[in-house]
């Protein structure tokens, strides 16, 4: 088993596990798209604003409406 890392970033991201709330995801420079808090004290040595976007994934229960259409 080869554990070589091909790409690794040190973007430190914090979040609290949340349910039934709007979730904010961090737009990273790569494939990672994790849930994140709004400020990132571990990045650039201070509190900075990053591009964080809210998102919902529709499912049958616990749905957070973003743009529902009712008929």
């Amino acid at each position: 088993m080869n554990n070589e890392l091909t790409k690794l970033t040190d973007e430190r991201i914090s979040f609290y596990y949340k349910t039934n709330e709007t979730k904010y995801y961090l737009l990273t420079r790569g494939s990672g798209y994790p849930l994140a808090e709004f400020t990132f004290p571990d990045i650039s040595g201070g509190t900075v604003t990053r591009l964080v976007v809210s998102e919902n994934m529709p499912k049958t229960v616990d749905m957070v409406p973003e743009n529902d259409t009712f008929v």
Binding site: M1, N2, N3, E4, L5, T6, K7, L8, T9, D10, E11, R12, I13, S14, F15, Y16, Y17, T19, T22, K23, Y24, Y25, L27, T28, R29, G30, S31, G32, Y33, P34, L35, F38, T39, T49, R50, L51, V52, V53, S54, M57, P58, T69
Partner: protein, 333 residues
């Protein structure tokens, strides 16, 4: 390990299709998603080189088995070019979700193999940059702007609200600019042009050129004529209405494709939200979790989030702090 079972499935699919098969899964597990992004290009390169060395079918036909909810709009263009460096015929296999940037990637394929559960989606991106509107509930966050929403507003003003004269058009546009920063709108327009240009250029890469007008028909449908970003396009709609080159797999192949998807879904726990609190023993625990896969017969790469989960003195006893310390693609085998 599930890898051994998947290798058998991939081998059988490759035999039935007469192709070299590459699998790419971007995880949509709640809280730790991955998306199509430029950092996967090197990972693809590794696998394509291995396929070229080991699989004689590579030069004739490569099938990309793809599950994704989307991602970066430019990466499909790069990936299609890279794959076509190795083969004369490129196809995409869609076992289930293949939205947005995934659908864009399909446009560069000669053939799109869709199972009964296969779904494509519109290519109407939302854009976000530092000038996007602030989220009223969270000033540090930006609200994405859907490109087609902006153009739909202008169409609404013109077609339904009777905005005809230059003065009225200026007023409608001014209203928009008062709410959305001009540079965010500039970004919207640039991406409006970009997505159409990319889609047409990808369609032009097919082995068999499309007849006149078909490319425009496909692009118009996927960008603005479906009217909802979360519209799920079935294989029938994709073939009959959008006129994409859809292939329906025969029964045995369909079963193999679904089994392979299910194996990935199980390994990545796609159906379960990532909740490290459930596995926390004591007050602190390291974790590693896989949330993206690129795999072929000759190797496996995973996108790994690693970090620490801690229980602190939160008023709510179930609340934990999750710190992701590293993330990236890793060669697993």
């Amino acid at each position: 390990m599930a890898r051994q079972r998947r290798v058998e499935l991939i081998r059988k699919i490759a035999e039935l299709r007469g192709s070299a098969v590459l699998c790419y899964i971007t995880g949509d597990r709640e809280n730790i998603n991955t998306r199509i992004a430029p950092d996967v290009t090197e990972v693809f390169y590794r696998h394509l080189e291995m396929l070229k060395e080991n699989d004689q079918r590579t030069g004739n036909q490569i099938d990309l088995f793809l599950y994704t909810r989307g991602g970066d709009v430019l990466t499909p263009w790069r990936l299609v070019h890279l794959i076509r460096e190795y083969t004369t015929r490129f196809n995409v296999i869609v076992p289930f979700r293949c939205y947005s940037a995934g659908t864009l990637l399909c446009l560069g394929a000669d053939e799109i193999v869709m199972g009964k559960m296969g779904e494509l989606g519109p290519i109407d991106p939302s854009v976000v940059n530092a000038f996007n509107p602030q989220d009223p509930n969270n000033p540090a966050a930006r609200i994405p702007v859907n490109i087609e929403d902006v153009y739909s507003y202008l169409a609404l003003a013109g077609e339904k609200a009777g905005v005809c004269s230059n003065d009225q058009q200026v007023k409608a546009f001014t209203l928009l600019v008062e709410r959305i920063h001009p540079l965010a709108l500039g970004n919207v327009h640039r991406n409006y042009m970009l997505i159409r240009s990319l889609a047409k250029k990808l369609l032009a890469m097919h082995q068999q050129p499309l007849r006149e007008g078909r490319s425009e028909h496909i692009v118009d449908n996927l960008t603005e004529k479906l009217y909802a970003h979360n519209h799920m396009i079935s294989r029938r709609e994709a073939a009959e209405e959008i006129t994409l080159n859809i292939t329906i797999p025969e029964g045995n192949l369909e079963s193999l494709l679904w089994a392979l998807y299910q194996d990935y879904a199980e390994e990545m726990a796609l159906a379960e939200p990532f909740n490290p609190a459930e596995k926390l023993c004591g007050n602190k625990m390291d974790f590693e979790v896989i949330s993206g896969i690129v795999e072929s017969l000759y190797g496996l790469d995973g996108f790994i989030f690693s970090g620490v989960v801690e229980r602190r003195d939160f008023p709510e006893s179930s609340k934990v702090n999750v710190n992701i310390l590293k993330q990236g693609w890793r060669i697993i085998s």
